[in-house]
Structure formats: structure tokens, C-alpha cells
Symmetry: C2
Subunit: 266 residues, 2 copies
């Protein structure tokens, strides 16, 4: 899968570059961080680097952990004229402002999510878009209709919006969460399994069979090593499982650019 | 099930009456219809009658089928100061305006649906609320967590928002649609099956077993008789199946009042 993800990444990047040039799109991004969460630093650096490589403006607003108030974030949101994102997690009970869809590059706000339910969201949350991209690339763009997909995890930023988008595409979707009787599920019965719980070991690689596509959304640090939500028992897995790192996360970062392009083209 | 639905209806109505009196809530509703769809007439009459019985104001705006323009509906929506609904279906390509959540008594608009995804919708779509009410009444209010629910149908007004609400309540949810391989599904493996396709015969009563709760959302007219989406093969069904008419539809009508009360209490 690593090679397939790389190819997909390069293809998408080339398409985005071509679109930006052809349509002369004013693509720009503002990233707001509060404090210095170490994982956030890596994610933000990757996004900044991508915009920089393409010569596109990407502003990084760094707010102090001590003294930053909700109203400070709300003012930034209210004045946003181009795509903006508030890097999660935010400290001290601060919450990301509920952005209007036209600047909501993460697609996390109520307007973007409501439009998603109605089937005309301007952008999908970046990780949801990554999962869709991988399914489309692996199974074919006409594969969604009738595709049997399991989505494990029910977060507002991955699990729930992914279920909605898959339903929009006429897939047969099953949603599981921590209260589901996971042991009783025949995971081999699904064409695609997406695991997005944030817990390493939610499922094991030997629960899957040849012909299945398994998308591992998790990024967890275990004993200093980055691992996904899926525990790899051995190297003999015959299912196609996306790697961590270098899988969903890499495409998610690219989709921030992809979403900024979509919003610029509105 | 008919008796259970009646009891639930009477309980809910009594609770709503008590709440309106105790909190002196200014409950009101405007219903807009365009043309004279015969099914709509029945639904609208039932809603009007319910408000009338309680001495609550319910305005009915009737627009002609010929000559009514989208902008006429949009003006009504823009000026709404209390709960309003546009009775579906609308003729001539007219669409219901996308209402702000605070007056969106049907919960069909993008703001209400976006808030639903985030887990804090002011109201659920009335039929979704009816399904939730029936599950809660039949299975217990603590039953949702881990409950295995199948939702058949993926409309914007029932299937999709019901899936989202059930995920919010930590149920294990499977969503099916016309592209799903229905014949391969073991329907008896679910605790609850909700059928909302609008097609009579989507599933048959003998596909269910004792102990299951089956919620039939459909209202179809076949040879002059009202029937649900489920075809009843015989009278020996041991599963609890909601009747049509007198099942979900009855509660849906009551939930228009319930939602108007919730919006008045905001």
C-alpha cells in the first residue's frame, strides 16, 4: 500500500498544481495554534511546507497557552476572509469557533456538516476526503454504490462525517464504536474497513482477509514509535492495509491544500 | 404495538401540555402549502387540529400551484419569527427554503442538520424523533448504547438523520439503501430495524423474529389502502412491528408540536 499511497499523493498534488495555475486561483490559508502541543507542531509544519513549496501564502498565527481567550479565537474566525483552521487539540477548554462553510477548510463546522448531510458540502473534512480518495483509487470511482464499508469510531471529525459521505455515495455502511460488541463482528464480511478510534489495537491485522481494503486512520505513539489503530500481528497479512505513518495522514495534509483550492474556486 | 403507540402518544401529549402551561411557552406554528397534494392535505389537517385542540395558534398559508415562485417562499422563510414548515412535496421544482435552526420545526435545514452531526441539534426531524421515541419506549431509555440498529433508506429527512442520531447515542448502526444486497442480509441479527424507503414490500414481516422491534416508517397507498414499507405475509409475526396507519405517522404529527415546544423554550 505504501507505493499506492505515494502514487495517489503525487497524482493529486500534480492535479491541484495544474488547477491552481489554470484557474489562477487565489489559494491562501491561515493556521491558528494555541500553545505548543508537540503533535500539532508536526502537522502544522507539514501544512506550511506544502503551501511554501507551491509558493502559496500560508499564515501561521501562534497564540500563547496562557492568556488566550475564547473571544480571541472568535474574533479571528469572524474576520476570516479566506480559509482558516484552528489546529486541534486546543488547551484550557478553548473550542474551535464554528466557522462559516466558505472559510471552513477543515469542514468541521456546523454549516459544512449540515450541507454534507444534504449532499452538497463544499469540502469534506480532510481525513474523510483521504479515506474517500483511497477507496476510490483502490476500488474504482464507481465502486461506492453498494460497497460494504465498516467505519469504526464515531468522532465528529472522522467517523460521523465519513459515514454520511459514504451513505451519500450509496454505500452500505456499518458504524461501530466503543460500545459495540466488536468480538462478535465478522470483519471479513466488509469490502472496506476504516478504523478511526485513536486506540492502538482496536482491531488486529489477522482479522482481515485477502481482497479487503483496510484504512487505518489512527496515529498513536507507542514506546516512541508511530503506530495506527490496527495492531499488526505478523507480516503475512493478505488484506491491503494503509501504513502508519505515510498513509491516511499524508493524504490528509494534502487535502488541506485540496480543500483550500475548492474554497478558492467557489 | 397499536396499544403501545397509543399509550406513548397520550403520555407525550400530556407531558407537552403540562410543559406549555408550566413554562407559559409562546408555542405557535406556521404551515405553508403550495397547491393541493391530497396526502399533504391530510397531514396538514392533523397538525392544525392538534394545535387547535390545545388552543395554540397555527397559521396555514395556502399558496396557489400556478404562479407561486421560489422567491415567495424565501420571503416567508426570511421573515419567520416563530416555527414554520413548508409541507412537502412542493410542486413545480420549488424547494423548501433552508431555514435557520431557531424556526426550523421540521429540522430539515442545513443548520439543524449540522448541529445534529455535532450532537446538539435543537430538534430532530419529527419522524426521526418518532423512531427514537418508539425505541426508547420499547427498549428502555438506556438501551441505545450498543443497540444493533438497521436503518433501511437514506433520505435527508429520515434515514440519514436517524443514522446520525443513533450514532450520537452510541448505537451500532447499519445503513442500507436500494443498492444494498438486501437478500444477503440477516435481518434477524438486529435488535431494531427501521424501514424508511417509501416502497411497500421493501422487507417482509417473516424476515423478522421474536424479540425484535421493527419500525415501519412508510405510508403508501396500495389499491386504496394505506400500507407501510413492510409487507405482512401473515398474522403470525412474532416481532413487534409498528402499524401503518397509527404508528410512526401518528407520533410524527405529535412531534411537530413537540418540536415547536422545544423551539419556544430555547
Amino acid at each position: 500500500m505504501k507505493a499506492a499511497i505515494n502514487t495517489l499523493y503525487e497524482q493529486k498534488l500534480a492535479e491541484l498544481k495544474a488547477q491552481i495555475e489554470a484557474d489562477k486561483l487565489p489559494v491562501a490559508l491561515t493556521i491558528v495554534t494555541v500553545g505548543d502541543d508537540p503533535a500539532s507542531k508536526v502537522y502544522v509544519r507539514n501544512k506550511l511546507r506544502l503551501f511554501e513549496e507551491l509558493g502559496l501564502p500560508c499564515h501561521h498565527i501562534v497564540m500563547p497557552e496562557v492568556g488566550t481567550m475564547q473571544s480571541d479565537l472568535d474574533v479571528l474566525a469572524a474576520n476570516a476572509t479566506h480559509p482558516i483552521l484552528f489546529q486541534l487539540p486546543l488547551p484550557n477548554g478553548l473550542v474551535a469557533p464554528d466557522l462559516p462553510a466558505k472559510v471552513d477548510v477543515d469542514g468541521f463546522g456546523s454549516e459544512a456538516l449540515g450541507l454534507l448531510v444534504l449532499g452538497h458540502a463544499p469540502v469534506l473534512p480532510c481525513t474523510v476526503q483521504a479515506a474517500i480518495d483511497i477507496i476510490e483509487s483502490h476500488c474504482g470511482e464507481n465502486a461506492f454504490s453498494g460497497l460494504k464499508v465498516a467505519v469504526v469510531g464515531r468522532s465528529n471529525i472522522v467517523g460521523k462525517p465519513l459515514v454520511i459521505e459514504l451513505i451519500n455515495r450509496q454505500s452500505t455502511v456499518s458504524s461501530f464504536n466503543s460500545r459495540s460488541d466488536m468480538a462478535a463482528v465478522d470483519w471479513s464480511s466488509f469490502d472496506v474497513v476504516v478504523v478511526a478510534t485513536g486506540y492502538h489495537g482496536t482491531l488486529n491485522s489477522d482479522q482481515f482477509v485477502e481482497g479487503q481494503l483496510i484504512i487505518d486512520v489512527g496515529i498513536n505513539r507507542i514506546e516512541g514509535k508511530l503506530v495506527g489503530d490496527i495492531h499488526h500481528h505478523n507480516e503475512q497479512t493478505t488484506a491491503a492495509i494503509t501504513p502508519v505513518p505515510g498513509g491516511v495522514g499524508r493524504l490528509t495534509c494534502l487535502n488541506v491544500l485540496g480543500n483550500a483550492v475548492k474554497l478558492a474556486a467557489l
